[in-house]
Protein backbone atom coordinates (compact mmCIF):
# COMPACT_ATOMS: atom_id res chain seq x y z
CA UNK A 1 0.00 0.00 0.00
CA UNK A 2 1.13 3.53 -0.70
CA UNK A 3 3.13 5.59 1.75
CA UNK A 4 0.63 8.48 2.04
CA UNK A 5 -2.09 6.05 3.13
CA UNK A 6 0.25 4.61 5.74
CA UNK A 7 1.09 8.11 6.97
CA UNK A 8 -2.60 9.01 7.20
CA UNK A 9 -3.43 5.85 9.14
CA UNK A 10 -0.53 6.56 11.51
CA UNK A 11 -1.69 10.15 12.00
CA UNK A 12 -5.25 9.05 12.81
CA UNK A 13 -3.77 6.28 14.97
CA UNK A 14 -2.37 8.96 17.29
CA UNK A 15 -5.94 9.90 18.24
CA UNK A 16 -6.54 6.31 19.35
CA UNK A 17 -8.48 5.23 16.27
CA UNK A 18 -7.01 2.26 14.47
CA UNK A 19 -7.83 2.35 10.77
CA UNK A 20 -5.08 -0.05 9.73
CA UNK A 21 -7.64 -2.26 7.95
CA UNK A 22 -7.49 0.09 4.95
CA UNK A 23 -3.88 -0.99 4.44
CA UNK A 24 -4.93 -4.62 3.96
CA UNK A 25 -5.96 -4.82 0.29
CA UNK A 26 -8.52 -7.61 0.89
CA UNK A 27 -10.33 -5.80 3.66
CA UNK A 28 -10.25 -2.45 1.90
CA UNK A 29 -11.68 -4.09 -1.22
CA UNK A 30 -14.47 -5.79 0.73
CA UNK A 31 -15.33 -2.52 2.50
CA UNK A 32 -15.46 -0.56 -0.77
CA UNK A 33 -17.49 -3.33 -2.37
CA UNK A 34 -19.83 -3.13 0.63
CA UNK A 35 -20.40 0.57 -0.09
CA UNK A 36 -21.20 -0.29 -3.70
CA UNK A 37 -23.65 -3.03 -2.69
CA UNK A 38 -25.44 -0.62 -0.33
CA UNK A 39 -25.76 1.88 -3.18
CA UNK A 40 -27.05 -0.82 -5.54
CA UNK A 41 -29.53 -2.12 -3.00
CA UNK A 42 -30.75 1.41 -2.22
CA UNK A 43 -31.26 2.18 -5.89
CA UNK A 44 -33.02 -1.09 -6.71
CA UNK A 45 -35.32 -0.88 -3.69
CA UNK A 46 -36.06 2.82 -4.27
CA UNK A 47 -37.30 2.08 -7.79
CA UNK A 48 -38.96 -1.20 -6.81
CA UNK A 49 -40.79 0.32 -3.86
CA UNK A 50 -42.04 3.26 -5.94
CA UNK A 51 -43.37 0.99 -8.67
CA UNK A 52 -45.08 -1.31 -6.16
CA UNK A 53 -46.29 1.71 -4.17
CA UNK A 54 -48.03 3.24 -7.18
CA UNK A 55 -49.75 -0.05 -7.99
CA UNK A 56 -50.85 -0.47 -4.37
CA UNK A 57 -52.10 3.12 -4.15
CA UNK A 58 -54.13 2.64 -7.34
CA UNK A 59 -55.62 -0.55 -5.90
CA UNK A 60 -56.32 1.08 -2.52
CA UNK A 61 -58.28 3.92 -4.08
CA UNK A 62 -60.11 1.72 -6.53
CA UNK A 63 -63.91 1.58 -6.12
CA UNK A 64 -63.72 -2.18 -6.78
CA UNK A 65 -63.57 -4.10 -3.51
CA UNK A 66 -61.81 -7.02 -5.21
CA UNK A 67 -58.82 -4.71 -5.73
CA UNK A 68 -59.06 -2.49 -2.68
CA UNK A 69 -59.53 -5.27 -0.09
CA UNK A 70 -56.41 -7.35 -0.85
CA UNK A 71 -54.34 -4.17 -1.14
CA UNK A 72 -55.56 -3.02 2.27
CA UNK A 73 -54.76 -6.41 3.83
CA UNK A 74 -51.30 -6.39 2.28
CA UNK A 75 -50.56 -2.86 3.50
CA UNK A 76 -51.68 -3.64 7.04
CA UNK A 77 -49.74 -6.90 7.29
CA UNK A 78 -46.60 -5.39 5.79
CA UNK A 79 -46.70 -2.19 7.82
CA UNK A 80 -47.37 -3.94 11.09
CA UNK A 81 -44.59 -6.53 11.09
CA UNK A 82 -40.84 -5.84 11.45
CA UNK A 83 -38.73 -5.85 8.30
CA UNK A 84 -36.16 -8.19 9.80
CA UNK A 85 -38.83 -10.75 10.62
CA UNK A 86 -40.21 -10.47 7.09
CA UNK A 87 -36.72 -10.90 5.67
CA UNK A 88 -36.01 -14.00 7.75
CA UNK A 89 -39.42 -15.38 6.93
CA UNK A 90 -38.90 -14.83 3.21
CA UNK A 91 -35.31 -15.96 3.00
CA UNK A 92 -35.22 -18.75 5.54
CA UNK A 93 -38.70 -20.19 5.10
CA UNK A 94 -40.12 -19.29 1.68
CA UNK A 95 -36.72 -19.55 0.00
CA UNK A 96 -36.13 -22.97 1.51
CA UNK A 97 -39.48 -24.23 0.27
CA UNK A 98 -38.75 -22.87 -3.22
CA UNK A 99 -35.34 -24.56 -3.15
CA UNK A 100 -36.86 -27.88 -2.15
CA UNK A 101 -39.44 -27.56 -4.93
CA UNK A 102 -36.90 -26.58 -7.58
CA UNK A 103 -34.19 -29.03 -6.54
CA UNK A 104 -34.67 -31.20 -9.60
CA UNK A 105 -35.21 -28.30 -11.98
CA UNK A 106 -31.73 -26.83 -11.80
CA UNK A 107 -31.90 -25.11 -8.42
CA UNK A 108 -33.19 -21.90 -6.94
CA UNK A 109 -32.06 -18.76 -8.77
CA UNK A 110 -33.05 -16.38 -5.95
CA UNK A 111 -30.04 -14.91 -4.12
CA UNK A 112 -30.02 -13.17 -0.72
CA UNK A 113 -29.65 -9.86 -2.60
CA UNK A 114 -32.82 -10.49 -4.60
CA UNK A 115 -34.74 -11.50 -1.46
CA UNK A 116 -33.59 -8.36 0.37
CA UNK A 117 -34.58 -6.22 -2.61
CA UNK A 118 -38.03 -7.82 -2.76
CA UNK A 119 -38.73 -7.61 0.98
CA UNK A 120 -37.48 -4.04 1.43
CA UNK A 121 -39.26 -2.85 -1.73
CA UNK A 122 -42.58 -4.35 -0.69
CA UNK A 123 -42.23 -3.12 2.89
CA UNK A 124 -41.60 0.44 1.81
CA UNK A 125 -44.20 0.18 -0.94
CA UNK A 126 -46.87 -0.12 1.75
CA UNK A 127 -45.74 3.21 3.20
CA UNK A 128 -45.48 4.84 -0.24
CA UNK A 129 -48.98 3.60 -1.05
CA UNK A 130 -50.45 5.26 2.02
CA UNK A 131 -48.67 8.52 1.24
CA UNK A 132 -49.89 8.41 -2.36
CA UNK A 133 -53.40 7.51 -1.24
CA UNK A 134 -53.46 10.65 0.87
CA UNK A 135 -52.37 12.57 -2.25
CA UNK A 136 -54.95 10.91 -4.48
CA UNK A 137 -57.74 11.60 -2.02
CA UNK A 138 -56.63 15.22 -1.71
CA UNK A 139 -57.31 15.88 -5.41
CA UNK A 140 -60.37 18.18 -5.40
CA UNK A 141 -63.60 16.62 -6.60
CA UNK A 142 -64.11 19.55 -8.94
CA UNK A 143 -60.86 18.73 -10.75
CA UNK A 144 -61.96 15.14 -11.23
CA UNK A 145 -65.37 16.19 -12.47
CA UNK A 146 -63.72 18.57 -14.90
CA UNK A 147 -61.57 15.71 -16.22
CA UNK A 148 -64.60 13.48 -16.46
CA UNK A 149 -66.53 16.10 -18.43
CA UNK A 150 -63.60 16.27 -20.83
CA UNK A 151 -64.10 12.58 -21.53
CA UNK A 152 -61.24 11.13 -19.46
CA UNK A 153 -61.69 7.46 -18.61
CA UNK A 154 -61.05 6.27 -15.07
CA UNK A 155 -57.56 5.05 -15.99
CA UNK A 156 -56.73 8.32 -17.73
CA UNK A 157 -57.96 10.27 -14.74
CA UNK A 158 -55.72 8.22 -12.46
CA UNK A 159 -52.59 8.49 -14.62
CA UNK A 160 -52.97 11.99 -15.95
CA UNK A 161 -54.76 13.87 -13.20
CA UNK A 162 -54.72 12.12 -9.87
CA UNK A 163 -51.24 10.62 -9.74
CA UNK A 164 -49.35 13.73 -10.95
CA UNK A 165 -51.13 15.80 -8.32
CA UNK A 166 -50.87 13.07 -5.69
CA UNK A 167 -47.11 12.83 -6.30
CA UNK A 168 -46.67 16.52 -5.54
CA UNK A 169 -48.82 16.28 -2.47
CA UNK A 170 -47.07 13.14 -1.20
CA UNK A 171 -43.52 14.17 -2.09
CA UNK A 172 -42.34 15.23 1.38
CA UNK A 173 -43.60 11.93 2.82
CA UNK A 174 -42.10 9.95 -0.05
CA UNK A 175 -38.71 11.57 0.53
CA UNK A 176 -39.06 10.73 4.21
CA UNK A 177 -39.78 7.11 3.24
CA UNK A 178 -36.76 7.09 0.93
CA UNK A 179 -34.44 8.23 3.70
CA UNK A 180 -35.83 5.43 5.84
CA UNK A 181 -35.43 2.97 2.99
CA UNK A 182 -31.74 3.77 2.57
CA UNK A 183 -31.18 3.07 6.25
CA UNK A 184 -33.32 -0.04 6.09
CA UNK A 185 -30.96 -1.68 3.58
CA UNK A 186 -28.71 -2.60 6.51
CA UNK A 187 -31.07 -5.44 7.48
CA UNK A 188 -29.79 -7.30 4.41
CA UNK A 189 -26.54 -7.92 6.29
CA UNK A 190 -28.43 -10.43 8.45
CA UNK A 191 -28.74 -12.80 5.50
CA UNK A 192 -25.18 -12.31 4.27
CA UNK A 193 -25.77 -9.70 1.59
CA UNK A 194 -22.36 -8.04 1.41
CA UNK A 195 -23.48 -4.47 2.10
CA UNK A 196 -21.42 -1.95 4.06
CA UNK A 197 -22.73 -3.22 7.40
CA UNK A 198 -21.91 -6.82 6.55
CA UNK A 199 -18.45 -5.89 5.29
CA UNK A 200 -17.86 -3.99 8.53
CA UNK A 201 -19.05 -6.87 10.71
CA UNK A 202 -16.72 -9.22 8.87
CA UNK A 203 -13.81 -6.87 9.44
CA UNK A 204 -14.51 -5.99 13.06
CA UNK A 205 -15.06 -9.56 14.18
CA UNK A 206 -11.49 -10.25 13.06
CA UNK A 207 -9.90 -6.97 14.14
CA UNK A 208 -12.16 -5.64 16.86
CA UNK A 209 -12.21 -2.10 15.46
CA UNK A 210 -15.94 -1.61 16.00
CA UNK A 211 -15.74 2.09 16.87
CA UNK A 212 -13.66 2.98 13.83
CA UNK A 213 -15.97 1.17 11.43
CA UNK A 214 -19.11 2.52 13.12
CA UNK A 215 -17.82 6.04 12.49
CA UNK A 216 -17.32 5.21 8.81
CA UNK A 217 -20.78 3.63 8.52
CA UNK A 218 -22.42 6.65 10.15
CA UNK A 219 -20.60 9.05 7.84
CA UNK A 220 -21.48 6.96 4.81
CA UNK A 221 -25.18 6.78 5.61
CA UNK A 222 -25.18 10.42 6.66
CA UNK A 223 -23.85 11.39 3.23
CA UNK A 224 -26.21 9.05 1.43
CA UNK A 225 -29.37 10.25 3.18
CA UNK A 226 -28.23 13.86 2.76
CA UNK A 227 -28.05 13.23 -0.98
CA UNK A 228 -31.54 11.70 -0.95
CA UNK A 229 -32.82 14.72 0.94
CA UNK A 230 -31.29 17.16 -1.52
CA UNK A 231 -32.69 15.22 -4.45
CA UNK A 232 -36.12 15.39 -2.79
CA UNK A 233 -35.85 19.14 -2.28
CA UNK A 234 -34.81 19.61 -5.88
CA UNK A 235 -37.78 17.58 -7.07
CA UNK A 236 -40.15 19.52 -4.83
CA UNK A 237 -39.01 22.82 -6.32
CA UNK A 238 -38.98 21.45 -9.83
CA UNK A 239 -42.46 19.94 -9.62
CA UNK A 240 -43.99 22.91 -7.83
CA UNK A 241 -47.19 24.03 -9.51
CA UNK A 242 -48.40 27.56 -8.95
CA UNK A 243 -51.73 27.54 -7.21
CA UNK A 244 -51.56 23.93 -6.02
CA UNK A 245 -50.43 23.23 -2.50
CA UNK A 246 -48.08 26.21 -2.29
Amino acid sequence: MSAPAQALVDAIGKTGLNYSFVLAPDELASFLHGMLVTLELSLVTALGSLAAGVVLAAMLTSPRAALARPARVFVEVTRNTPTLVQLFCAFLVVNMLISEALRNLGGNPLTPFIWSAIVISLHKAAFHAEALRAGIEAVPRATLEAAQSLGYSRRQRLWEVQLPLALRFALPTLVNNMVDLVKMTTVASAIAVGDITYASIMIWTQRDNVLELMILILLFFGALTFAVNRAGQWLEIRLRMPGYGH
Binding site: F88, M96, S99, N108, P112, I191, A192, I201, M202, Q206
Partner: protein
Protein backbone atom coordinates in the same frame (compact mmCIF):
# COMPACT_ATOMS: atom_id res chain seq x y z
CA UNK B 1 -20.34 34.01 27.50
CA UNK B 2 -19.10 33.04 30.92
CA UNK B 3 -17.51 35.67 33.15
CA UNK B 4 -13.88 35.15 34.01
CA UNK B 5 -14.29 33.92 37.62
CA UNK B 6 -16.93 31.39 36.56
CA UNK B 7 -14.66 30.09 33.85
CA UNK B 8 -11.79 29.64 36.28
CA UNK B 9 -14.01 27.75 38.68
CA UNK B 10 -15.27 25.60 35.85
CA UNK B 11 -11.74 24.77 34.71
CA UNK B 12 -10.79 23.99 38.28
CA UNK B 13 -13.75 21.68 38.75
CA UNK B 14 -12.97 19.89 35.50
CA UNK B 15 -9.35 19.40 36.55
CA UNK B 16 -10.41 18.03 39.92
CA UNK B 17 -12.86 15.69 38.25
CA UNK B 18 -10.24 14.46 35.81
CA UNK B 19 -7.82 13.86 38.66
CA UNK B 20 -10.49 12.03 40.62
CA UNK B 21 -11.32 9.89 37.61
CA UNK B 22 -7.66 9.03 37.14
CA UNK B 23 -7.35 7.98 40.78
CA UNK B 24 -10.45 5.86 40.87
CA UNK B 25 -9.38 4.19 37.64
CA UNK B 26 -6.07 3.41 39.33
CA UNK B 27 -7.77 2.03 42.40
CA UNK B 28 -10.11 -0.09 40.30
CA UNK B 29 -7.16 -1.55 38.47
CA UNK B 30 -6.69 -4.42 40.95
CA UNK B 31 -9.28 -6.63 39.30
CA UNK B 32 -12.60 -5.19 40.33
CA UNK B 33 -14.57 -7.99 38.73
CA UNK B 34 -13.90 -10.77 41.25
CA UNK B 35 -14.60 -8.35 44.12
CA UNK B 36 -17.79 -7.23 42.45
CA UNK B 37 -18.92 -10.82 41.84
CA UNK B 38 -18.58 -11.57 45.55
CA UNK B 39 -20.04 -8.23 46.59
CA UNK B 40 -23.27 -8.59 44.67
CA UNK B 41 -23.15 -12.36 45.20
CA UNK B 42 -23.70 -13.00 41.50
CA UNK B 43 -21.67 -13.75 38.40
CA UNK B 44 -22.98 -12.82 34.96
CA UNK B 45 -21.85 -15.26 32.30
CA UNK B 46 -22.39 -14.87 28.58
CA UNK B 47 -23.34 -18.13 26.88
CA UNK B 48 -24.23 -19.04 23.33
CA UNK B 49 -27.59 -20.71 22.90
CA UNK B 50 -27.38 -21.56 19.23
CA UNK B 51 -28.29 -25.21 19.53
CA UNK B 52 -27.42 -28.44 21.30
CA UNK B 53 -25.15 -29.72 22.73
CA UNK B 54 -23.61 -26.37 23.77
CA UNK B 55 -26.68 -24.41 24.62
CA UNK B 56 -30.34 -24.15 23.70
CA UNK B 57 -33.65 -23.29 25.25
CA UNK B 58 -35.55 -26.25 26.65
CA UNK B 59 -38.78 -26.19 24.61
CA UNK B 60 -40.83 -27.28 27.63
CA UNK B 61 -39.53 -24.90 30.29
CA UNK B 62 -37.93 -22.13 28.15
CA UNK B 63 -34.87 -22.43 30.41
CA UNK B 64 -31.41 -22.54 28.88
CA UNK B 65 -29.82 -25.99 28.92
CA UNK B 66 -26.66 -27.53 27.51
CA UNK B 67 -22.92 -27.84 28.01
CA UNK B 68 -22.21 -24.08 28.23
CA UNK B 69 -25.03 -23.69 30.73
CA UNK B 70 -23.79 -26.59 32.89
CA UNK B 71 -20.30 -25.10 32.93
CA UNK B 72 -21.62 -21.63 33.81
CA UNK B 73 -23.77 -23.00 36.63
CA UNK B 74 -20.85 -24.94 38.04
CA UNK B 75 -18.53 -21.91 37.91
CA UNK B 76 -21.05 -20.01 40.01
CA UNK B 77 -21.53 -22.93 42.39
CA UNK B 78 -17.80 -23.28 42.99
CA UNK B 79 -17.43 -19.52 43.50
CA UNK B 80 -20.31 -19.73 45.97
CA UNK B 81 -22.45 -17.17 44.15
CA UNK B 82 -25.61 -17.07 42.05
CA UNK B 83 -25.44 -17.16 38.28
CA UNK B 84 -27.09 -14.93 35.73
CA UNK B 85 -26.92 -16.21 32.17
CA UNK B 86 -26.90 -13.78 29.29
CA UNK B 87 -27.37 -15.10 25.76
CA UNK B 88 -24.73 -13.70 23.40
CA UNK B 89 -24.06 -14.02 19.68
CA UNK B 90 -20.72 -14.72 18.03
CA UNK B 91 -20.89 -11.23 16.50
CA UNK B 92 -21.36 -9.35 19.77
CA UNK B 93 -19.88 -11.51 22.54
CA UNK B 94 -16.55 -9.64 22.71
CA UNK B 95 -18.36 -6.31 23.12
CA UNK B 96 -20.59 -7.76 25.86
CA UNK B 97 -17.48 -8.77 27.79
CA UNK B 98 -15.49 -5.61 27.15
CA UNK B 99 -18.35 -3.33 28.13
CA UNK B 100 -18.90 -5.18 31.39
CA UNK B 101 -22.35 -6.53 30.52
CA UNK B 102 -21.01 -9.98 31.38
CA UNK B 103 -18.19 -11.01 33.73
CA UNK B 104 -17.06 -14.01 31.70
CA UNK B 105 -17.83 -15.77 28.44
CA UNK B 106 -18.46 -19.48 28.00
CA UNK B 107 -19.46 -19.01 24.42
CA UNK B 108 -17.92 -21.54 22.03
CA UNK B 109 -14.98 -19.19 21.73
CA UNK B 110 -11.66 -20.83 21.01
CA UNK B 111 -8.23 -19.27 21.51
CA UNK B 112 -6.89 -17.31 18.57
CA UNK B 113 -3.96 -14.93 18.44
CA UNK B 114 -6.21 -11.91 17.79
CA UNK B 115 -8.55 -12.72 20.66
CA UNK B 116 -5.68 -13.33 23.07
CA UNK B 117 -4.42 -9.82 22.35
CA UNK B 118 -7.57 -8.12 23.58
CA UNK B 119 -8.89 -10.52 26.23
CA UNK B 120 -7.57 -12.82 28.95
CA UNK B 121 -8.41 -16.42 29.78
CA UNK B 122 -7.50 -19.10 32.30
CA UNK B 123 -4.77 -21.02 30.47
CA UNK B 124 -6.26 -24.49 30.93
CA UNK B 125 -8.86 -25.15 28.23
CA UNK B 126 -12.06 -27.03 29.05
CA UNK B 127 -12.28 -28.59 25.60
CA UNK B 128 -10.59 -28.65 22.25
CA UNK B 129 -13.05 -27.75 19.56
CA UNK B 130 -12.70 -27.44 15.82
CA UNK B 131 -15.03 -26.84 12.94
CA UNK B 132 -16.86 -29.51 11.01
CA UNK B 133 -18.36 -29.21 7.58
CA UNK B 134 -21.94 -30.24 6.93
CA UNK B 135 -23.20 -30.70 3.39
CA UNK B 136 -25.82 -32.59 1.40
CA UNK B 137 -24.91 -36.21 0.73
CA UNK B 138 -24.97 -35.58 -3.02
CA UNK B 139 -22.87 -32.37 -3.00
CA UNK B 140 -19.66 -34.15 -3.97
CA UNK B 141 -17.63 -32.48 -1.22
CA UNK B 142 -15.24 -34.98 0.35
CA UNK B 143 -12.31 -32.91 1.67
CA UNK B 144 -11.75 -29.36 2.91
CA UNK B 145 -10.15 -28.56 -0.46
CA UNK B 146 -13.40 -29.26 -2.29
CA UNK B 147 -14.96 -26.02 -1.05
CA UNK B 148 -12.65 -23.85 -3.19
CA UNK B 149 -14.66 -21.17 -4.99
CA UNK B 150 -17.94 -22.44 -3.53
CA UNK B 151 -20.27 -20.61 -1.16
CA UNK B 152 -19.89 -21.81 2.44
CA UNK B 153 -22.13 -20.61 5.29
CA UNK B 154 -20.76 -19.66 8.72
CA UNK B 155 -21.93 -17.40 11.57
CA UNK B 156 -20.83 -13.80 11.76
CA UNK B 157 -17.84 -13.65 14.10
CA UNK B 158 -16.82 -17.25 13.48
CA UNK B 159 -13.11 -18.02 13.63
CA UNK B 160 -13.52 -20.42 10.71
CA UNK B 161 -14.03 -17.53 8.29
CA UNK B 162 -10.33 -16.84 7.88
CA UNK B 163 -9.02 -20.38 7.28
CA UNK B 164 -11.93 -21.15 4.97
CA UNK B 165 -11.33 -18.06 2.86
CA UNK B 166 -7.55 -17.92 2.94
CA UNK B 167 -6.49 -21.54 3.12
CA UNK B 168 -9.28 -23.24 1.20
CA UNK B 169 -10.45 -20.40 -1.03
CA UNK B 170 -14.12 -20.75 -0.10
CA UNK B 171 -16.58 -17.99 -0.79
CA UNK B 172 -17.64 -17.41 2.82
CA UNK B 173 -21.16 -16.16 3.58
CA UNK B 174 -21.63 -15.18 7.20
CA UNK B 175 -25.11 -15.14 8.71
CA UNK B 176 -26.22 -13.55 11.95
CA UNK B 177 -26.07 -16.85 13.81
CA UNK B 178 -25.78 -20.58 13.43
CA UNK B 179 -29.53 -21.25 13.01
CA UNK B 180 -29.72 -18.76 10.13
CA UNK B 181 -26.61 -20.22 8.53
CA UNK B 182 -27.98 -23.78 8.72
CA UNK B 183 -31.31 -22.67 7.27
CA UNK B 184 -29.43 -20.98 4.45
CA UNK B 185 -27.66 -24.28 3.79
CA UNK B 186 -31.02 -26.00 3.59
CA UNK B 187 -32.22 -23.22 1.30
CA UNK B 188 -29.34 -24.10 -1.04
CA UNK B 189 -27.64 -20.73 -0.60
CA UNK B 190 -24.37 -22.47 0.16
CA UNK B 191 -23.01 -25.90 -0.62
CA UNK B 192 -21.81 -26.44 2.94
CA UNK B 193 -21.90 -24.88 6.41
CA UNK B 194 -19.04 -24.87 8.89
CA UNK B 195 -19.70 -24.72 12.63
CA UNK B 196 -18.39 -26.21 15.85
CA UNK B 197 -18.04 -29.95 15.31
CA UNK B 198 -20.00 -31.35 18.29
CA UNK B 199 -23.13 -29.43 17.30
CA UNK B 200 -23.08 -30.65 13.72
CA UNK B 201 -22.26 -34.25 14.71
CA UNK B 202 -25.27 -34.29 17.04
CA UNK B 203 -27.47 -32.75 14.37
CA UNK B 204 -26.61 -35.37 11.76
CA UNK B 205 -26.80 -38.24 14.24
CA UNK B 206 -30.04 -37.31 15.99
CA UNK B 207 -32.19 -35.05 13.85
CA UNK B 208 -34.30 -36.72 11.13
CA UNK B 209 -34.64 -33.36 9.32
CA UNK B 210 -30.97 -33.63 8.51
CA UNK B 211 -30.96 -37.20 7.18
CA UNK B 212 -29.95 -36.01 3.68
CA UNK B 213 -26.90 -34.26 5.10
CA UNK B 214 -23.54 -35.58 6.13
CA UNK B 215 -20.19 -34.60 7.64
CA UNK B 216 -17.89 -35.96 4.96
CA UNK B 217 -14.53 -34.75 6.33
CA UNK B 218 -13.32 -36.51 9.45
CA UNK B 219 -10.56 -34.07 10.42
CA UNK B 220 -11.76 -30.87 12.10
CA UNK B 221 -10.88 -27.37 10.93
CA UNK B 222 -8.37 -25.63 13.21
CA UNK B 223 -9.03 -27.59 16.42
CA UNK B 224 -8.34 -25.01 19.12
CA UNK B 225 -8.56 -24.88 22.89
CA UNK B 226 -11.96 -23.64 24.12
CA UNK B 227 -11.57 -21.49 27.21
CA UNK B 228 -13.48 -19.19 29.52
CA UNK B 229 -12.84 -15.57 28.54
CA UNK B 230 -12.48 -12.63 30.89
CA UNK B 231 -11.50 -9.00 30.35
CA UNK B 232 -7.85 -8.25 29.64
CA UNK B 233 -5.62 -8.23 32.70
CA UNK B 234 -8.20 -9.41 35.24
CA UNK B 235 -5.72 -11.75 36.84
CA UNK B 236 -7.71 -12.52 40.01
CA UNK B 237 -10.79 -13.65 38.10
CA UNK B 238 -8.54 -15.54 35.73
CA UNK B 239 -6.81 -17.35 38.62
CA UNK B 240 -10.10 -18.23 40.32
CA UNK B 241 -11.47 -19.67 37.08
CA UNK B 242 -8.23 -21.54 36.35
CA UNK B 243 -8.59 -23.33 39.67
CA UNK B 244 -12.15 -24.31 38.78
CA UNK B 245 -11.22 -25.59 35.33
CA UNK B 246 -8.36 -27.70 36.73
CA UNK B 247 -10.77 -29.09 39.27
CA UNK B 248 -13.18 -30.04 36.49
CA UNK B 249 -10.42 -32.04 34.84
CA UNK B 250 -9.12 -33.59 38.07
CA UNK B 251 -12.50 -34.79 39.30
CA UNK B 252 -13.65 -36.12 35.96
CA UNK B 253 -16.73 -33.90 36.29
CA UNK B 254 -16.05 -32.43 32.88
CA UNK B 255 -16.03 -35.79 31.11
CA UNK B 256 -19.26 -36.75 32.82
CA UNK B 257 -20.88 -33.44 31.90
CA UNK B 258 -19.87 -33.83 28.26
CA UNK B 259 -21.31 -37.34 28.10
CA UNK B 260 -24.51 -36.11 29.77
CA UNK B 261 -24.79 -33.56 26.95
CA UNK B 262 -24.18 -36.24 24.29
CA UNK B 263 -20.70 -34.96 23.52
CA UNK B 264 -17.64 -37.06 22.83
CA UNK B 265 -14.78 -35.82 25.09
CA UNK B 266 -11.81 -35.02 22.86
CA UNK B 267 -8.39 -36.61 23.31
CA UNK B 268 -7.19 -33.29 24.78
CA UNK B 269 -9.74 -33.53 27.60
CA UNK B 270 -8.89 -37.17 28.31
CA UNK B 271 -5.19 -36.22 28.45
CA UNK B 272 -5.88 -33.32 30.81
CA UNK B 273 -7.92 -35.61 33.05
CA UNK B 274 -5.00 -38.05 33.21
CA UNK B 275 -2.57 -35.22 33.85
CA UNK B 276 -4.44 -33.63 36.77
CA UNK B 277 -5.63 -36.90 38.27
CA UNK B 278 -2.08 -38.16 38.57
CA UNK B 279 -0.80 -37.93 42.16
CA UNK B 280 1.40 -34.94 42.78
CA UNK B 281 -0.09 -32.92 39.94
Amino acid sequence: MLSRPTRTTLAHTLRTLALFAAFSAGAAHADATLDRIHQRHKIVIGVILSGPPFGSLDPATQKPVGFNVDLANDVAKRLGVDVELTAVQPSNRVQFLQQGKVDALIANMEVTKERAEILSYPPTPFEEIGGALITRKDSGIKTWNDVRGKPVCVSQGSNYTKPLAEQYGAQVKAFRGQPESLLALRGNNCVAAVHVAPTLRLLVARNPDWKDYTIPVSNDLIPSPAVIWVRKGETDTQAALEKIVQDWHRSGWLIGTERRNSMQPSQAVLDLHAKYKAPGA
